[in-house]
Amino acid sequence: MTSGPMSGPDQTRVLLEAVDLHKSFGPTPALDGAGLGVRAGEVVAVMGPSGSGKSTLLHCLAGILTPDKGTVRYRDVELSAMGDGARSELRRTDFGFVFQFGQLVPELSCLENVALPLRLGSVKRKEAESRAREWLERLEVADVADKRPGETSGGQGQRVAVARALVTGPRVVFADEPTGALDSLNGERVMQLLVTAAKETNAAVVLVTHEPRVAAYSDREVVVRDGKSREMEPVT
């Protein structure tokens, strides 16, 4: 099914686009011709059963994995043509990541965790930490700034993770089951904060989830089944 009219705020420009991706781990294909286009500022949900290749598609889009076949283009630059270092830098500056769990460095305090991407981009420590604090406040977790992730609740930890993903002002945020380990209330709150913050900064969100209620925060959805993707037409 071809993509129909988009309901995203920026309808003109495809920011990140994957075409005909193939990727195998050993003999089993994880992706078998999947593709996806993401426009600036829109929230795209990637849904599908477990093992369908959702995460692999996300990893390819983010340049963490290189597909066996097919292209991933970000702002008209092909990711596979970039070196590992350049891709790392791109992920640091233009992308943000939220995973289901275990993404915060357990040794660093929450504040330091959020400041980390800025500091890697050689922002001064003071400046980085004050910006990190702003984000923690925005996500309503300023009170855990000096605690380590192990000392926070799951919901707080995920909000810290969202703050870390957004602190660099990324163009695309990749969220892989960001509420997978949370209860409904906490999960919804995290989603609300993530989507609101992303909209405010005009960041696109690629949201991998198998929960329809989480997917409902998206502007449109892509269904992945057996390594093939299908961009769904939103019903108007």
Binding site: P212, R213, R225
Partner: protein
């Protein structure tokens, strides 16, 4: 467009007592419908059209084919079959394909017209309005799609898109509403989510279903 095809078979409509529900009612997804809703909403006309796609049949055959596949709990009434067929005939979606010896409506054979095929196709491609107890209609659509060699997963995907659109609406409303709104929207959301999960599960089991209905 699909609103016109919709048949509401809802019996018993309990008045919505809560204020904010009025807001939701406009969306067409009234939460207060649930407690009393018993009869599935579905389109007998499209089902019969779909069954006719395999070839011309008598009205009696049609009823039997229908009951076999979809009427476990509530077999069709003869009268229902003939009123529906005559409506389809009037709209030009079926035509009479010869009358056998003897009189009476049961001797007539009906065949689907090109307009009828287009109508079935359109019906299958159009998602149902998300509402409770949709599964019988959807099940019928999926089975008819499988029987006629159409892509049944398209039916499901279109429907999930419709569901998700509804859920998006509710999610947005929830964000703007007060606690009562949120609670009511969540109630609807959880039910829609259940439907959606059923759609996903069915999609995962299409292969099995196909061997079951075409054997």
């Amino acid at each position: 467009m699909w609103r016109s095809n919709r048949q509401t078979s809802t019996i018993g409509y309990s008045p919505c007592p809560v204020g904010p529900a009025a807001l939701l009612r406009r969306s067409g997804y009234e939460p207060c419908v649930y407690p009393v809703c018993i009869v599935p909403g579905m389109s007998i006309g499209h089902t019969l059209l779909g069954l006719l796609e395999k070839g011309p049949r008598h009205g009696y055959d049609l009823k039997k084919a229908y009951d076999e596949r979809f009427g476990q709990d509530r077999p069709l009434h003869y009268g229902q079959v003939y009123t529906t067929l005559s409506r389809l005939l009037r709209n030009g979606l079926v035509e009479e394909a010869g009358v056998e010896a003897g009189d009476g409506p049961e001797r007539k054979r009906y065949a689907i017209t090109d307009a009828g095929v287009t109508d079935v196709e359109h019906w299958l491609a159009t998602p149902e309005k998300p509402e409770p107890y949709l599964q019988n209609t959807l099940y019928t659509k999926v089975v008819l799609a499988l029987l006629s060699g159409r892509r049944a997963d398209d039916v499901l995907d279109v429907q999930r898109a419709a569901h998700l659109t509804m859920m998006r609406d509710l999610t947005k409303r929830k964000a703007d509403g007060d606690l009562a709104d949120q609670l009511i929207c969540d109630h609807a959301l959880f039910h829609l989510e259940a439907d959606l999960r059923w759609l996903e599960l069915t999609a995962a089991r299409l292969g099995k279903l196909k061997t079951a209905v075409t054997k």
